[in-house]
Amino acid sequence: MAKIGALGVLGDKQAWLPDIPKTPLMRRRMLWAYAFVAAPIIALIVFLLGPILFSGWVSLHRWDMLSPVSEMPWRGLSNYSYLLSKDPVFLKSLGNTFYFAIGGVGANTILGLGFALLLNSRIRGRAIWRVLYFMPVITAPLALAVMFSFIFDRNFGVVNNVITGLGLPRQPFLSGPNQALLTLVFIAVYQYIGYYIVIFLAGLQGIPQDYYDAAQVDGAGRIQEFRYITLPLLRPVMLFVVVTNTIGALQVFDLVFATTGGAPANSSMTVVLHMYNTAFKFSRMGRASAMAFILFAIIMLITIVQVRLLQDRAYGD
């Protein structure tokens, strides 16, 4: 079955023993290998590894990006303590981001699996359904944000046209403090559900038919089949869906930036948007970097917990 992430990579121990080539021919090949990896490795150091270290360093300082790096005033952990105790917007955005992620991941997992089960059963035109559900996945989040800002508009949005047509009260959706975040969850689920349907569908089709045949011989019903065959064998896929979706949802930016911008009253402010504003509107690079590190730590922690939870059980079966 599918192996998730890097966990299954380092299987062949032999290949990992360090060995320095002895013959000139082998040494020449070694040089070629270095030539092949040189540019990508340098690029990754310049654009990923270097920056993450630098970002950690900046998070301990006060910096506006204009003054020289060598003259950044040292602030120790005060950026972190400020964020966690004195910045109400950050704490609010953290809560919003969790809400957004939990709602989105929950809905995507349940609906994604549900629709994948439907499409995996005897159904006509599977390819067509798949295409229809997949369309938003490849559409720019910014375009979707514009489309849904219009659809959910308080005054002339089509959803409110229908609602008021039915005699119900007009809803604010994206402009309502109690509805903005929930509406964003809806849009995000709309955007990615097709991706998770495809993933779940591939997982379902990877389950050998024999298991179901055997279960039917034993007189198992559909629900028992689902409970004792489909779900356990789908755990690796479930792990992939939950982990990648959580990681992605916690980083949401485009959608919020282009719909609510965090409004009204920060009720839909998310961490990355707040970080963006802090850094590029208010030039507080230290504080923004600290924000990034707190979110990064949270993402790693959640990922570890999810992998533990879902994988232990997968191997327990």
Partner: protein
């Protein structure tokens, strides 16, 4: 298929299709509504009671669009920068993946772990320093500033290594006996065999680059360099008073990509199922 009982349940079947149709309607409706609204007059959009179709389709919303935003320029910028990124990702990933899969050299283990580690770094953690580096290089508001950070992909290297490692060593050995150079082995033997993986990786890289918003937003200032998502963003001021034009502009930015997708959907979806589970 497995549920023979299902054919005995026309009611269950009807319910299945009902759910699928309802779901598909929700998925497609925003696109259709965008198209309909793009053909309305600005007034029709705001009418109460609302109208569902334009009295007369306003095609001039489209023909007059180039006066509002440089559509052709946006397309060129998006295509050009996305193509550069796809090319860079494919070349660097397959070369490095080849080296990690088929060569032995000191430091291989360390470097590969390094790449695995960078795969887990989210973009927002490096955003500020990368912006700073690009600014120090004087690359703000240039194509190279937009493209450079995206030319390599740790995930791409990992993916290509995983594919190339499954190829038999005998192929490479035989080519070496025939006197082929290392570059020739890469180009003539490895690349043709990993074309499906390259197609998948290229598709992902393309969609990622094409839809990217935050990085272009930070790096680009001038209208001449704007990509499509930035173009849509710059049109947002048309909202409310000229929502019809905003929808026309968004449709022009979105629909061609969807058409391409519908023609190539099989490869898209196969690739996603493949790498989604492998990665």
């Amino acid at each position: 298929m497995r549920d023979e009982t299902a054919s005995l349940q026309p009611l269950g079947d009807a319910l299945k299709y009902l759910i699928l149709v309802a779901g598909a309607f929700i998925m497609v409706f925003p696109f259709i509504w965008m198209m309909i609204a793009s053909l309305m007059t600005a007034g029709e959009i705001q009418l109460r009671p609302p109208v569902w179709l334009p009295a007369e389709p306003q095609f001039r919303n489209y023909t007059e669009l180039p006066q509002k935003i440089p559509i052709a320029r946006l397309y060129f910028n998006s295509l050009f920068t996305s193509a550069l990124i796809v090319f860079g990702v494919l070349l660097s990933s397959s070369l490095a993946g080849f080296a990690f899969a088929k060569y032995r050299f000191p430091g291989r283990e360390f470097l590969f772990y390094l790449i695995l580690a960078t795969m887990m770094i989210p973009f927002f953690v490096t955003l500020i320093p990368v912006f700073f580096i690009v600014r120090q290089l004087g690359w703000i508001d240039t194509y190279q500033g937009l493209v450079a950070p995206g030319l390599t992909s740790a995930y791409g290297i990992f993916l290509m290594r995983q594919f190339i490692i499954t190829l038999p060593d005998e192929l490479i050995d035989a080519a070496r006996i025939d006197g082929a150079s290392e570059l020739r082995i890469f180009w003539r033997i490895i690349v043709p065999l990993v074309k499906p993986a390259l197609a998948t990786l290229g598709t992902f890289a393309f969609i990622g680059a094409w839809n990217n918003f935050l990085w272009p937003l930070l790096v680009l200032n001038s209208r001449e360099l704007m990509t499509l998502p930035l173009g849509i963003n710059s049109m947002k001021s048309l909202y409310a008073d000229n929502t019809n034009l905003l929808m026309a502009g968004t449709a022009v930015a979105v629909i061609p990509m969807l058409v391409v997708f519908i023609f190539l959907q099989r490869y898209f979806i196969q690739g996603i199922a493949l790498t989604g589970l492998k990665g």
